[in-house]
């Protein structure tokens, strides 16, 4: 079926690229989505990265890296500036999942990982639950995502992750706008 939103795709892009990840396809789709969202990309930024390069970069940005993990991909780290896991941002995420009748599957990742949150957003949109989507975006995801994105940008990432961070921003912004009937502004 034709996808109505890109959030499962974006969620997957924030997953660790392993040997089964179709990096070229992923990269091509991301570039196309960037175009759909009106993002102008220089041609050298469209190059498909090597899997090993992408993996090392993912680890540097989101797992462990010189200079400290550049951009921990967890809501908890940003929501109340606690800087650590399992704090308010985590509680908020769990609150929304629960309210929607979902629970995260044990995956070795914290449920407030950006990958989970984008996926959850996709589930809400598929369900057409506008009220909860609006709450989730307004009071949670759209609050912390920009701080996370900033950390990615400061780390001067490979184009793939830079584009991913920007495209995700634009998709969230656009979705929020639609959901709020253009009443809300993206912080």
């Amino acid at each position: 079926m034709e996808p109505t939103h890109p959030f499962y795709f974006l969620s997957s892009c924030f997953d660790y690229p392993d040997k089964d990840t179709p990096v070229a396809n992923l990269s091509d789709a991301l570039v196309l989505l960037a175009g759909d969202m009106g993002l102008q990309l220089e041609s050298d930024r469209k190059q498909v990265p090597e899997l090993e390069t992408l993996q090392a970069e993912y680890v540097r940005l989101f797992i462990n890296s010189p200079g400290g993990v550049a951009a921990p991909p967890y809501a908890s780290v940003y929501v109340n500036h606690s800087g650590i896991m399992r704090q308010k941002g985590y509680d908020e995420a769990m609150f929304f999942y629960n309210k929607a009748g979902f629970e995260p599957v044990e995956s070795g990742e914290s449920p407030d990982h950006i990958m989970h949150e984008l996926n959850f957003l996709g589930l809400l949109l598929d369900r057409d639950d506008m009220s909860l989507t609006s709450d989730f975006l307004n009071s949670h995801l759209c609050k912390w995502y920009p701080r996370f994105e900033q950390r990615i940008v400061i780390a001067e990432p490979l184009p793939f992750f830079q584009i991913l961070a920007q495209v995700t921003h634009l998709c969230l912004k656009q979705t929020l706008k639609e959901v709020m009937h253009e009443q809300a502004t993206f912080s």
Binding site: P6, L26, A29, G67, F102, E103
Partner: protein
């Protein structure tokens, strides 16, 4: 269903997302319909939290704790109120276990190095890949170079299970605790040989709470914090104990001393021997105890007879009247006098064991053994042994020249293979090549002095792996990093305390493990399976713990019902008439024949340690109350309490050099090695011939976000290492520094005249 389109996605993009074949498939596996109704509103605070008892491991003291857990989250840590040693108290580090557990800089998944060693560039791999790789390399190295080419540097509770793997591979180098060889090794041996038991090792059987007088020689208790230890010290003072502190630095306990002796560094043994001589000459010793329970008194008397207080006053740069008053004060309190056995002991290399032996001798002369206030006897607590958590049929292969048994340090075999021997073997292949290193719980770059040689050695290895919680220095030098659970996420086995108030308790997980980490037992089990090592048959850690509890007639369940801890009656004291020691003769050894048999001094001698070269000052270091060595520097709460260390510099020296408080300087050691910038604390509370800094700072690992580059690391200024002759421990106070300010090298003026008897260190650069 009418599906709304929120974003304008072109057909091409949709097709591309579909051909990436992840859209709508991989993502959906992250959630399932909720099975339980979780709390709808996030709650804050610890009220109403579930309480889980466990054991702290923010340092090795292992205080019993209660963890407060709410909605599966750890919200607070307190002391276990049923614990006789700490009650509801934990120290700052104990509190901040929450931060360790939830630190986003934790190692979250097995990692494989993809850059150069030391670069810290990794790929994420699965547990299977990681364990396969470690097992493959262990087998490969063993096949090519023999079993002893494998070596293990370990420390702490999580290290035991992996030790079994190394043992089962046949290497003799299955334990080399750098922390032991760099810390309590010399006093452990000195007391073992004098009294027949390890009075001071990880634990200390040292009754400060009931002492009438205490002597601390550079033990900076209070800055060096172990909760029960500090409580006993304070209890003693509170009950009126007199305190003598010998330290070149005005430490926290010096602030509480009745007599403070700011001794010249490197001369402590001179003072101790003069005091021993004085006690004998003035008949201040306990004649009954010496006659009935000590061997070697006449030999001792003879040996120390030349060490006078006048001589010691000159050597130690102390006032005669002060040192006389101090020893009289200690003698007056005998036998309820506490000559603190000391902990961190590896200072000057060759004299370290003798210095601690001299504390033991003075303790014996005062009869301060097995009586309130002295050193006491441990009370054994029954605990079983879980064979199911070990390898079967372990046999260490013979080595043509054994690094352990034919060590140049005759007593090192008791404790393992010395750190220095292993590093040397990696670099020189003498007595055989060491090609693979496993590391667990040790920051090998900062804990072992002379990190330059350590880094050089690591580059020579075929393979190095570590088990780590934080991506610290060890991790960035490793080929494979295995992420360890924190102490709050795992069982470790049963802990017993044999001190004044014996108890038994158990560490257990207070929350589910974060990320993709594994417990040390499961890691060892996974490796055993791959290496074909029989054993490790316990399916789970609960099974292992229950096995250990059997002997105490307990189960995990019954122990938890009793508040996670069982307290027993202590039997620390003995009737002075009938006391027996576990030495060969059953008596205290004032002169240790075992040492003599190895051509070592049976009674300590004063052997001067070289003074700083002209223009330099001696570098010493100590522990900070809110940090545990190098382990906690990245912890947010502890970092906030103490983000960096400072260089303590004598005020008169600072005035001569034109250095002001809080100014930033760089230190350069006698071999030209330079430190990170460090701020200066100008103070009269330190002698002019020494500078001091707290250990654990100046991380060179960029992975430790908060700690990177904050303050200076003492270890990086240690390149002159003298090994003690008994166990081969590394010296840490044999390095000298001068100061660099604004790119100008400043020579340190010598304000305390040096007696002729003390030679000067001959620096290549001085």
């Amino acid at each position: 269903m009418n599906r709304r389109h929120f974003l304008k996605i072109s057909a091409a993009t949709a097709a591309a997302m579909a051909s990436a074949s992840i859209s709508g498939t991989k993502g959906e596996g992250l959630f399932r319909p909720a099975t339980a109704q979780a709390a709808l509103a996030p709650e804050t605070g610890s009220m109403g939290a579930k309480e889980v008892t466990s054991v702290c491991e923010m340092c090795f003291w292992r205080c019993p704790i209660v963890a407060k857990v709410k909605n599966g989250k750890l919200v607070k840590i307190e002391g276990n109120p049923k614990s006789p040693v700490n009650g509801q108290r934990v120290c700052a580090r104990g509190n901040s276990g929450v931060q360790l557990l939830y630190d986003p800089d934790r190692v979250k998944t097995p990692l494989k190095r993809v850059g150069a060693r030391g670069e810290g560039k990794w790929a994420k791999i699965s547990w299977d890949e990681a364990l396969d790789e470690v097992a493959y390399n262990m087998q490969k190295v063993k096949k090519k170079y023999g079993p002893h080419a494998l070596a293990y540097f370990d420390h702490g509770a999580s290290a035991e299970f992996m030790r079994g793997i190394f043992k089962a591979m046949g290497t003799e180098n299955y334990t080399s605790e750098p922390a032991f060889f760099q810390c309590v090794g010399p006093p452990a041996l000195a007391y073992l040989k004098t009294f027949g038991y390890v009075t001071t090792g990880t634990r200390q059987y040292n009754d400060m709470g009931n002492a009438k007088a205490m002597l601390l020689v550079a033990s900076h208790i209070g800055e060096n914090v172990h909760v029960s230890h500090v409580r006993e010290f304070i209890e003693g003072l509170d009950k009126g104990a007199k305190l003598v502190v010998v330290d070149p630095r005005f430490s926290a306990p010096a602030n509480k001393a009745d007599i403070y002796l700011p001794i010249r560094p490197g001369t402590d043994t001179a003072l101790m021997l003069a005091w021993i001589n004085y006690v004998i000459k003035k008949n201040l010793y306990n004649k009954d105890f010496v006659a009935n329970h000590c061997d070697g008194f006449d030999k001792l008397k003879d040996e120390v007879s030349d060490y006078s207080l006048e001589w010691a006053a000159k050597i130690c740069d102390l006032k005669l009247v002060d040192i006389q008053e101090a020893i009289e004060l200690l003698a007056k309190a005998a036998p309820h006098v506490n000559i603190h056995p000391g902990r961190h002991a590896t200072w000057y290399g060759k004299g370290d064991l003798g210095r601690h032996q001299s504390y033991a001798i003075l303790t014996a002369l005062f009869g301060a053994v097995g009586v309130p206030g002295g050193i006491y006897f441990p009370t054994p607590v029954k605990k079983g042994h879980a064979e199911c958590a070990e390898p079967e049929d372990v046999e260490t292969a013979d080595a043509e020249t054994s690094m352990k048994d034919d060590s140049p340090y005759p007593f090192s075999y008791i404790f393992g293979t010395t750190t220095r021997s292993i590093i040397k073997a990696i670099l020189t292949k003498d007595p055989y090549p060491v090609k693979l290193l496993g590391v667990n719980g040790v920051n090998i770059i900062q804990t072992i002095p002379d990190p330059y040689t350590t880094m050089k050695a690591i580059k020579e290895l075929d393979f190095i792996f570590c088990e780590e919680m934080m991506a610290g220095e060890t991790a960035i030098w490793s080929d494979i990093v295995l992420p360890d659970t924190t102490y709050l996420e795992r069982y470790d086995g049963v802990y017993t305390y044999e001190g004044l108030t014996p108890y038994l308790t158990v560490r257990q997980p207070v929350v589910d493990p974060m990320f993709n980490v594994r417990s040390p037992y499961q890691i060892a089990r996974g490796l055993a399976e791959r290496l074909g090592i029989e054993g490790y048959s316990c399916e789970s850690e609960e099974e292992l713990v229950n096995e250990e509890l059997k002997k105490a007639d307990l189960t995990l369940e019954s122990l938890n019902k009793q508040g996670g801890i069982v307290v027993y009656e202590g039997k620390p004291y003995r009737d002075p008439k009938t006391v027996k020691f576990s030495t060969e003769s059953g008596k205290v050894q004032l002169a240790v024949e075992d040492f003599e048999d190895e051509d070592l001094d049976p009674i300590p001698k004063y052997d001067p340690t070289p003074a700083p070269p002209k223009g330099y000052t001696r570098l010493v270091y100590g522990r900070a109350p809110m940090h545990t060595f190098t382990r906690t520097m990245n912890n947010l709460w502890l970092h906030n309490e103490m983000p960096e260390n400072k260089l303590w510099l004598n005020d008169k020296v600072a005035a001569k050099l034109g250095i002001k408080n809080d100014e930033e300087v760089i230190l350069e050691n006698q071999d030209g090695k330079r430190s990170n910038p460090i701020k200066v604390l100008v103070t009269p509370g330190i002698r002019p011939d020494v500078v001091f800094m707290y250990h654990g700072f100046g991380s060179k690992s960029k992975h430790l976000t908060r700690a990177y580059g904050k303050g200076a690391a003492d270890g990086f200024l240690m390149t002159n290492i003298v090994n003690d002759r008994f166990i081969g421990a590394d010296s840490k106070r044999t390095n000298f520094v001068r100061i660099i300010k604004n790119n100008r090298v400043l020579n340190i003026p010598e304000l305390a005249a040096l007696p002729r008897e003390i030679p000067r260190y001959n620096s290549r650069l001085a």
